[in-house]
């Protein structure tokens, strides 16, 4: 008998789990199979479990918009989804089905995914409404996810804008069918129609603009989207004490005030253009005159060669920021004026005069990219804070396919 060196021990097999896709069998399973008559019992138990699963589908409402209202109507008196055992449980940890009802934006999508991951297995996902299915006419816009199946496994799609409560009910019944089928080993793998997969455009086609060259290359479009150096630094604000000193205005009506700041006649094609130096003082005086309500602030981006009268050959690129204020009570009047600023040039904030200007100016900063000097809190408001573009500029592409969020 010769002593041979011990053969190297075979590599320990990778511990198998149910999830790794191999033919793992729990040792107990064989015992169960070998016990006569037990399969009948387990099949009965399995049917009982299936019955329970399909008739107690607790819904986690991922309701964001219009479909959420129809979702609520489904829960409410007339339709009452409670009678099929579905019940709204607004916590992911105690729910079986996530109903995504409404548009999912790129800002919301990470949250949806996180909530989905917090739901315990077994779980199902229902895409309710055309926004959740494909993005519909919001598809290819800068902020909308083109269908939640780009990041979630969807079991049932319910078309409609929004689907009626009866349609949601029908969708839930189809989900019950699917669960029953899957428990009996039926294949429910999706068989997508190849023709449908080719559809990448929004349901309402966007119009090509005559004044924007259609052959603008993708690189050019991206370049126009990049913020310039001074735009990227929000610290570039003029301190309020640097504001130019202007004489206080004294007139007692809007027309008089306009004359005082040098606007002699009201233009027919828009609000009067007020010099930026007098802008703050004008607002202050108007407020004292009874225009106590701030209505809106709207900035417009005019490309080079274009202005409020249409094509103007020697016009440079600029922004026109319009302000609307209102008197309160009977016979309410509005006063509107506009200020013209060049790109990169900040305008003094109105938030010291009207507190509501804070959010309005943040919105115009976020979407159009105009800056407000002395603003107490100039951050993005609609887009995520990591966003770099100003989408409401006219040179920002409107129909750029948004990469599926993953």
């Amino acid at each position: 008998m010769t002593h041979e060196p011990a053969a190297p021990a075979p590599a320990a097999p990778r511990p198998r789990t149910v999830d790794d896709g191999s033919n793992f069998r729990h040792p107990l399973y064989q015992v169960l199979l070998d016990t006569p008559g037990l399969t009948v019992g387990t099949a009965a138990v399995d049917d009982l479990l299936t019955w329970g699963l399909t008739n107690a589908m607790w819904i986690f409402p991922m309701a964001t918009s219009c479909c959420g209202i129809e979702f609520m109507a489904t829960m409410a008196s007339r339709v009452d989804i409670d009678r099929m055992g579905s019940f709204v449980r607004p916590t992911p940890r105690q729910a079986d089905v996530m109903v995504v009802a409404g548009t999912i934006t790129t800002k919301m999508a990470p949250r949806v995914l996180k909530l989905w991951e917090q739901m315990p297995e077994p779980k199902w996902c229902v895409a309710m409404g055309s926004c959740a299915i494909s993005g519909d006419f919001y598809r290819n816009l800068y902020s909308v996810v083109p269908g939640i199946d780009t990041f979630l496994p969807v079991d049932v799609y319910i078309p409609g804008c929004p689907p009626n409560p009866e349609a949601l009910m029908h969708g839930m019944l189809r989900l019950q069918e699917k669960i029953r089928g899957q428990r009996h080993g039926k294949d429910f793998a999706p068989k997508p129609d190849a023709a449908l997969l080719k559809i990448t455009q929004p349901s309402i086609p966007r119009l090509v603009e005559a004044n924007r060259p259609a052959d603008l290359s993708a690189a050019q479009e991206r370049a126009s989207d990049q913020p310039t150096v001074d735009e990227a630094t929000p610290a570039l604000v003029v301190a309020p004490e640097d504001a130019p000193e202007v004489a206080p205005l004294v007139a007692n009506d809007f027309e008089g005030l306009l004359k005082e700041v040098g606007v002699t006649e009201l233009p027919k094609d828009g609000p009067p253009l007020v010099p930026a130096a007098h802008h703050l003082e004008l607002a202050r005086r108007l407020k004292a005159l009874g225009y106590r309500q701030l209505v809106t602030i709207a900035a417009t981006h005019w490309l080079a060669g274009r202005g409020r009268k249409g094509a103007v050959a020697d016009e440079v690129e600029h922004f026109e920021i319009a302000f609307v204020v209102r008197t309160v009570g009977a016979g309410s009047r509005t006063a509107a004026w506009a200020v013209r600023v060049l790109p990169g040039q900040p305008l003094l904030t109105l938030s010291g005069v009207y507190a509501g200007a804070d959010w309005q100016e943040r919105e115009q900063f976020d979407l159009v990219g105009v800056k407000f000097a002395g603003h107490p809190d100039l951050r993005r408001i609609m887009q995520a804070e990591s966003a770099t573009s100003f989408p409401l500029r006219r040179d920002h592409p409107a129909d750029a396919p948004c990469a599926p969020w993953r």
Partner: protein
């Protein structure tokens, strides 16, 4: 109480206030902080009291204004339907009125009356939803909370049935067009509407008993979330929220549009400016809107419903160069459209002035000094709709 009534500093520097970092930061949302959509607040809590609130919106920013620049004028009504999805009728109205202002388009009298009739019915439906969801927000104290919700949705369905009979859709109606309306009333609609109005009016005392006469409801709402009238004006808060702060301002009466100059509108106000006042104003406005709707129904004139020039293609409707602002009174306040037209078939810039965004901007002023449970009542009583906030 005085501490709650003074103006708080929304820009409180939390590092300076709390150098030891002992305050708790509570993320409130964005998945449905209440039944009002996707919205997030960072609440800095001292014990259970809120020291500072930082709202974050934009979770439903659907780029509507960008989309509006890329579609023809007549294609836009179904797009803006989705903004304030609880009151689509008034969304459309604010939009087409801006187009009509620049086009100098006259609207036939019957169309104007129909628009006002729809707007009032829509206000009833919207306020019913607001009260129902507010009751859910307040939760178990109100008999499980869902009782009021179920009652309100029962009546709301009556109005949705009326709209479905006219337009074929439960919401997102697409019924207003430039120069008038697209759908006329079907046979027997007036009787159906009368019945619905009668039923809702009969059941209104139920809501009173369940909400504003309910002692638990009063204790949760009274003296909570006081919004000063002058601050509300500065912030641009409009609608029932403004009127609850004692400001007598309603565009239906003060700057009449559609057919409101032909009827008398009674403006409902309350003086205290707290959550309870906002709830009372909404319940009372349902009553007033039912009266107005009945009035518009009775006096509905005969005639054409559309004075617009028919065009073969959407791109043929071209709005002349100009800029205009049109604001109307929706259930949530002043909804406006700032339209910049450059003479082509698409708007050059279209800014929608939402009522709910301005209501939410009051939160940093109102919330400090309240508890977290009050925060839910306050958010619910402001009745924001996120589709309109974020657009």
């Amino acid at each position: 109480m005085t501490a709650l009534l003074r103006r708080v500093d929304p820009y409180l520097k939390i590092e300076a206030y709390d150098p030891e970092a002992e305050l708790m930061l509570l993320h409130f949302g964005p998945q449905h902080p209440s039944t009002h959509g996707v919205f997030r607040m960072d609440l800095y809590l001292d014990g259970e009291l809120i020291v500072k609130a930082v709202p974050h919106c934009g979770y439903l920013h659907r780029a509507v204004e960008k989309l509006c620049e890329k579609l023809a004028y007549v294609q836009l009504t179904p797009i803006v339907d989705k903004n304030d999805y609880v009151a689509p009728m008034t969304n459309e109205l604010a939009l087409v009125m801006a187009f009509e202002a620049l086009l100098k388009q006259d609207v036939p009298r019957r169309a104007r009356w129909l628009r006002s009739l729809f707007a009032e019915l829509q206000r009833v439906a919207s306020h019913l939803l607001a009260i129902g969801t507010l009751a859910i927000d307040l939760g178990g104290a109100l008999g499980g909370g869902t009782t009021v919700f179920m009652h309100c949705f029962r009546e709301r369905e009556l109005i949705l049935d009326l709209f479905e009979a006219v337009t074929g859709s439960r919401f997102h109606y697409n019924t207003h067009t430039i120069g008038g309306n697209r759908h006329d009333l079907p046979e027997g609609w007036a009787k159906q509407a009368k019945d619905a109005i009668r039923v809702i009016r009969e059941r209104l005392p139920e809501y009173g008993a369940l909400t504003i006469e309910n002692r638990i409801f009063q204790q949760r709402m009274q003296k909570v979330g006081v919004l000063d009238g002058e601050l509300a004006l500065e912030l641009g808060v409009t609608g029932p929220n403004l009127r609850a702060s004692g400001v007598d301002h309603d565009l239906r009466r003060d700057a009449p549009y559609a057919a409101y100059d032909e009827v008398k509108v009674n403006v409902v106000t309350a003086q205290t400016g707290d959550c309870f006042a906002r709830a009372i104003v909404r319940v009372k406005e349902i009553e007033e809107s039912l009266r107005l709707a009945e009035c518009f129904l009775d006096g509905l004139p005969e005639g054409p419903i559309n004075g617009g020039k028919p065009t073969k293609m959407a791109v043929q409707t071209k709005v002349p160069v100009g800029q205009t602002y049109v604001g109307i009174e929706t259930p949530r306040g002043e909804l406006g459209t700032w339209l910049v037209a450059d003479g082509t078939h698409t708007p050059y810039r279209l800014k929608i002035r939402p009522a709910s965004l301005h209501s939410l901007s009051a939160l940093p002023y109102v919330l400090p000094g309240h508890t977290v449970s009050d925060a839910i009542a306050i958010l619910g009583s402001l009745d924001p709709i996120m589709g309109e906030v974020d657009r």
